[in-house]
Amino acid sequence: MTALTNKDSRSTLKRIQSRLPPPLVALILAVLLFLIGGLLAPGFANVNQAVNIVRLAAFLGIIAAGQTLVIISGGEGIDLSVGALVTLGAILTYRITDGDEALILPALGVILLVGLLIGLLNGIGVALLRMPPLVITLGMAGVVTGLIYFVTRGQLIGDTPPAMGTLLSSALIGPIPGVVILWLLLGAGMWLLLERTQYGKQLFAVGINRTAARLSGVRVNLVVMLTYGLSGMLAAFGGFVLLGFTQTVFLNLGQPFLFPSIAAVVVGGTVLAGGKGSYWGTIAGALVLQVINSLLLALRVEEAFQLIILGVILLVLLTMYGRQRSVRQ
């Protein structure tokens, strides 16, 4: 007689991962990479660079906030309209304020509203028309970009209120730029939203099991639509913040942030299947990506290898969190 052996023996990787929550893994990784950078590229690991990395990460992190919510909402949730909405947010702020500081807040109000509305359209497509998020949001990105072209006809008139630069981009408290503080505030806000509101709790429920959520009184469709709405709003806000950094706008300002925004969320350990994740994770993810970026740059690695290394690092991190169950029980 042959004894049957147990198939699912837990790997060491899994054990490590079960001890350390992904956001922590990502954060540790970020710090490690930063220190390694110090060894490989003398002068890399200094305060300036640290501040600089955090500042750059902040823009990505803020832009990735909505993406985090959408991915948590499950059902192959993903928002590809983020890039276009960032551009829209920046362009609107640029045009509305036209350099006038008094108009900053009104402009902010407008872009948040516009972002929300466009996001809600995505939500309706997903929840009511049951369109795959990937497709509807991609289409919406096209529409938003199209609108920008149509309205501006490529003429970007306007100006940036100087205050936005000083408040957001340049050093505000000590060496720390305003955007970093804003980022921390947003982080706290996101934590409250996800962990301390009914919406947040229901979002996780919807992300894991829509039937169970519905049978517990959750208005699944409502939550889904709201989530895409918030994502649109936060993306537009990201554009507003980014304007403080670039001071001027251009037609594809936001596009470079789209896929990194997804990467940041995933690297932060938020599960693409939905129902599990945190914005702290996304924050850590944004830091990791930015450190990698700056490090590869400091090491003067050629673009080809930058891409390859980024891909490999992503794969390794995913293997640490992203396992699915096997068909064989």
Partner: protein, 498 residues
Amino acid sequence: MTSFRLTVEKAVKTYGGVTALADGNLDVQAGTVTALLGANGSGKSTLSKILTGVVSPNSGSITLNGAPMRFASPQAARQAGISAVYQELSLIPDLTVAENIWLAHEPLKNGFVSRTLMRQRTQSLLDLFAGLYNRHLTPDALITDLTPDERQLVEILKALSFDPRLIILDEATASLDGQQVNRLFELVTQWKANGMAIVMVSHRMEEIFRIADKASVLRNGRTVGERVIAETSERELVELMIEGAGALHRERAPLVDPANPVRLEVRGLKTSVLHGVDLTVRDGELLGLGGLQGQGQSDLLMALFGAIRSTGQMIVSGEARHFRHPRQAMAADVALVPGDRGSEGLLLIRSIFENLILPSWGSYGTPIRVARAREKGAVIAEELKMVMSSLDAPVNSLSGGNAQKVVIGKWLLRAPKLLLLNDPTKGIDVGAKAEFYSLLRQLRDRGTAILFYSSDDDELLGLCNRVLVMHDGRVSTELFGDRLTHEQLVSASMGTPS
């Protein structure tokens, strides 16, 4: 046909916290029907799946005709001539009946799948049940378009299509009607005569005694004995299945005081499945719902809870209501414990705490006062004697019984006035069942109106003083007082009103 003998010894299978099978043994040979008995969750399906190579046991051994065997995959088991009718069925919704039956062994004609052959062979298989299914069940029908009993038939024919030497029927009769069951048993007798080995899992004693030669009994994952049917009694088997069946004390409630206010009154409730249901439940009443699986009991409960669309009259707490969403039902103090823990009741990867509070987050304000919510959670966990490492442990680390306690607990936290229970004791062990029964009694005595569907007749008999037997989307019979007997229940279930 060559002789066939398969034995399993000391099979063990655990899923995280849950031990599905602690010591599973089975001995089957050609030309005999072996009944695999046991309470819900005793490990019958798990043992079956080990035989078909779907589940890989943590330990244990399988011997086929004296030689050690190791089923590393379903294919391997298939090679050995083993196929099964799975309790949860193994059909692909968007493929046709023929494609499903012949999946992975499609008839080929010079290398290509021959649809004509597939159709013909499917038809001849369907003919085995000629006249016992709707005409829209054709080889080209999609599984999604079939009713549960038709799906069950397809699953049976699928298992048969491999012309196996051992066929396992895991609750294959669950959603079949009387005639279909009779036909199936005729076939089983034929197979037996042709030297096929049959393993049969069923909760229906009369079926066991009609068809089985011997019975192997599981209790809480352990094989506790084997009996030759001719030499045993239903009572003996039940005692094997449920340790101290007597001790599992169930006192039937007295008839509810007709003075109690009517909590729920339903007139002509219709859904795609229900063809007009009438019923009344009073406060402090524990009303049973019986009948074969899939006769509309779940639809009824789901409709009452506003989870599926329905038409008809519905009066809750004296007001005419029509719930379009569970939210609205909840607002009217209605609660539903759904049938399938995993897919309808729980957020498996989230914590016990979050699962308990999910329906009631709204009542803890914004920002949520988590401390208070935790207290409540802890209290209910205490009350239900949940066995857990901590409130923050993920639900999927719990055993079936405790997981079910979470599903019930999250509704008790809302102190419902009308409690809808959809086969709540499925897959939970005897101890947990006993606790659950006394919990039901407490609730009932506190005046909660309870509508209780169970696929386990004994439960209904033991707990309820009035049982509505459902058949084909209608309440076919109402049993109470001394008409509430096992025989009546069974005959009513089979759709033969008496």
